[in-house]
Symmetry: D2
Subunit: 282 residues, 4 copies
């Protein structure tokens, strides 16, 4: 089977949705070649969006890594769409007032504050005057043992709504194929202990694709789903969600899905991307 | 706690999304009072949509039950949105050509044919010239033993894409609180045997809410999510999905969720509707 | 890595536990070579037991296939241990009296009758005078659509205890790698619809291994777990359960686990057999 | 319905199996009345065993709390059976040599050392010279963030066997109905991230009941399962496992299962104890 290069594939689409981790960057920074690729896509008239389950900081902060000394902003903040933005909409519309407890970094509280609410760490919130909601934003910034236990008992006692702003189980961190446990895994563990269902935002649910597509459509009124390509490294989130939403997909093997296992995983899971590439640079 | 009546609640919204089974009808037909309610909503200028995971027949057929000798069409087919329509879009865009095998009634093949494809029952499809895809449409119309086994082995041998057009586990059928096993449960069983993930359409995924909201928005350009009310009888699908999408919700106790258990279930699951009503008539 | 033959492996053990389907037989009958293997093991002084999740008929009937015109009974009924025997013990001790409804073949009712109880098909049992318990025995012998739906509503209305006498998801049936859906999968589907937990018997739970080990120990008072070898074709049941119980294991590739996938499956699942053989004849 | 007192129930049995947490003690120590109850059972000739998923320390240490200034040892260490003992057997027989990494307290390493192996905290073990196995013993004694992440990557890189010595999700800690997350929940989270199945010991698997029953049977050769009563506070582990093993059961409402919810939980889960008591003192 002939495998087209990423550059050849991209030719057939006018809008490109990229996952970030494992595709364009890892925890060490941008992958080599990413600035050149993004600059070329911009020159070619492609509209580029980032769709990420990373809610560890504001879109403007997430977009900062794509600022280039020469080429300028390669992906503007307005096209950097995180699952945190969906959580933020939910908080603004559904919670409305009061303090919102969180698990995550200080930077991740952006999404609570942008909803007009006050953020308070789980470690500091009172059981007697409980917060209006609890948001799981990021796996860093708190003491897992103390604060996961505290959050479990806070939910048991007050039955407050719980929002999960990152549906990932784990994310790639380095070149040894190591991963970090994502806050989505802590959420699933807590749901199982409590027998409850939290409100989850992010891929694979199709809402993030709807959100990004609506943004793209506002600029390009004739845009159809067949004109949009999703590029990701994870079958369960990027490829499954985009396929259900109706987009063509590229699975890249530079992140969560290992080259040696991708064929078996595709066959085993039944989640079949339109294309497979080693990376976005090949 | 004062419990507003359904009529009072509805006053605050301009668009009403209704689940069908257990809310407006059961397998015996429309619930008593449904025509009068819908006529009153129409007179009051409310836009009414049906959002159903029932893909057993075409929207035009599903809408037929809402035609009234006096009041005419109480919910037009264009506002009767089934998960089958999402499956149909998927088939048209992703499968493109060839025969599509199905489990379901003859009437349910509407969604395959409307995608420009040829429908073939699982019982008649050949392993040597396998179909392009398999669609699970309805729990009726086939021999469970023979055809579920045949479908499992068809997927094992050919790894074709599998689409599930109804995400329900069961649906209410009568006044004894009896249920029928929905095709979504057969799908989950097959996924577990095969270790694969099929492509699911319908509530609780937010795509059906996006689809209906976009339709409503086309008529009402100023429509915001806060102007839309979802009315359903099932926490896991209707209330969870609409809440995640950002809508206010009414849980009615005339279907899947029993009056005696609703309070415990809400507390136990953590899925909290905005309002609870005995039925849409109270 | 040198792979010892099955004959070499067996030398180090005095008692051999065999799974039946996919190891010694399939739905077409005994695999070629099985009688000679069993006769040789008997001559070599090995004690042979069958441990099967097949509860479709009595142990005496299951053992009939191992009767040989020349060598006589290669595995006596007393050493043919099915999960049905554990279910039978449970029914005798816990249900005590009344009619017991079942899903399964006529032959599978042996286990109900041997517990001193009356068996009645789900299709014939009354909701007004409900049975004392429900037992899921086999995937054949009933109308899946009518009787699974009937069983679900029987449980909803009467909350009777439900026993599952076969924990398998599927079982191999022929040389095309086709499988049949086992009653354990129907059980899991029903549990998910009802939100209940049935009482399951059979591998991978360790009780069947305890039961067989106690039988073997009665004859061989010095028997230790390290003297017993479990031979099976399924990682999730045979190998996992025997490993947890403390036995050495052989995975054979003549049944559920395909030669091309076994290495990946072992690595992916983390369930690691002591040995791997193509079959018990190599 | 007449509810017999615990003292009346106990009359019909010669051997009593007690869960510890939520039945006889909580994290503050023995419940008031426990010493008198145990002394009375001993005087009445009942054989008492503790069956606990608590592997945080050696049986001799777990038994220390039952030593009484006046009555002496109310439950000897030889009758204090923890899931750690099953894990210890497994390690001795299956791992045999090398260092064994662990998550847990220093005291919990008893079970590794008793198997003749060297215990090493996950935080100190090398990826280049990986340990022979990993054991999850307790939720305390390590840094969740650092060490759970480290353990996940250790398993990804080396595919070593992983043993879980505590199958609990959470355990009761005080009179406010608060719980602590048990190491069994961390195990399930790690399995989900890795797609692997660890080897689990403890209730609800029936092996712990087999183990205790065999101990009791050695003293009382005529003992039958109908002579043994299991007393526990958790439906999913104590009551389900003992029921499947064939024992009568008492659910007490002094721990995990709240008085206000027990009837609903029994009906919802389908796990039905033989008796229900407020506590073992009523």
């Amino acid at each position: 089977m002939a495998r087209p290069s990423f550059a050849e594939i991209v030719n057939n689409y006018s809008v490109i949705f990229f996952d970030a981790f494992g595709v364009l960057k890892n925890s060490g920074g941008l992958l080599e070649g990413t600035p050149e690729l993004l600059a070329w896509l911009n020159r070619s008239g492609k509209e580029v969006f980032i769709l990420t389950n990373d809610s560890s900081r504001a879109p403007s902060e997430l977009a900062r890594i794509y600022e280039h000394p020469e080429h300028g902003s390669l992906v503007p903040a307005s096209r950097t769409i995180s699952s945190g933005l969906l959580a933020q909409d939910f908080l603004r519309n559904r919670v409305k007032s009061g303090k919102v407890a969180y698990l995550g970094t200080q930077e991740s509280t952006f999404y609570i504050q942008a909803a007009g609410l006050e953020a308070i760490p789980v470690s500091e919130c009172s059981f007697d005057h409980p917060p209006s909601a609890l948001v799981l934003l990021d796996d860093e910034g708190f003491d897992w043992f103390a604060d996961v236990n505290r959050a479990v008992n806070l939910i048991r006692r007050t039955n407050l709504p719980v929002v999960v702003a990152n549906a990932d189980r784990a994310y790639p961190i380095n070149n040894h194929n190591d991963v970090a446990v994502a806050v989505g895994s802590l959420a699933t563990m807590m749901e199982s202990i409590l027998g409850k269902r939290f409100i989850h935002f992010g891929k694979p649910d199709t809402m993030m694709f709807s959100y990004a597509f609506a943004n793209a459509h506002a600029n390009l009124p004739k845009l159809a789903k067949k004109d949009v390509l999703m590029v990701g490294d994870t079958l369960r989130t990027d490829i499954y969600g985009a396929t259900a939403f109706g987009l063509d997909t590229v699975l890249v093997l530079s992140g969560n899905t290992l080259p040696a296992q991708h064929q078996i995983l595709i066959e085993a899971t039944g989640i079949v991307p339109t294309y497979v590439c080693e990376s976005v640079f090949t």
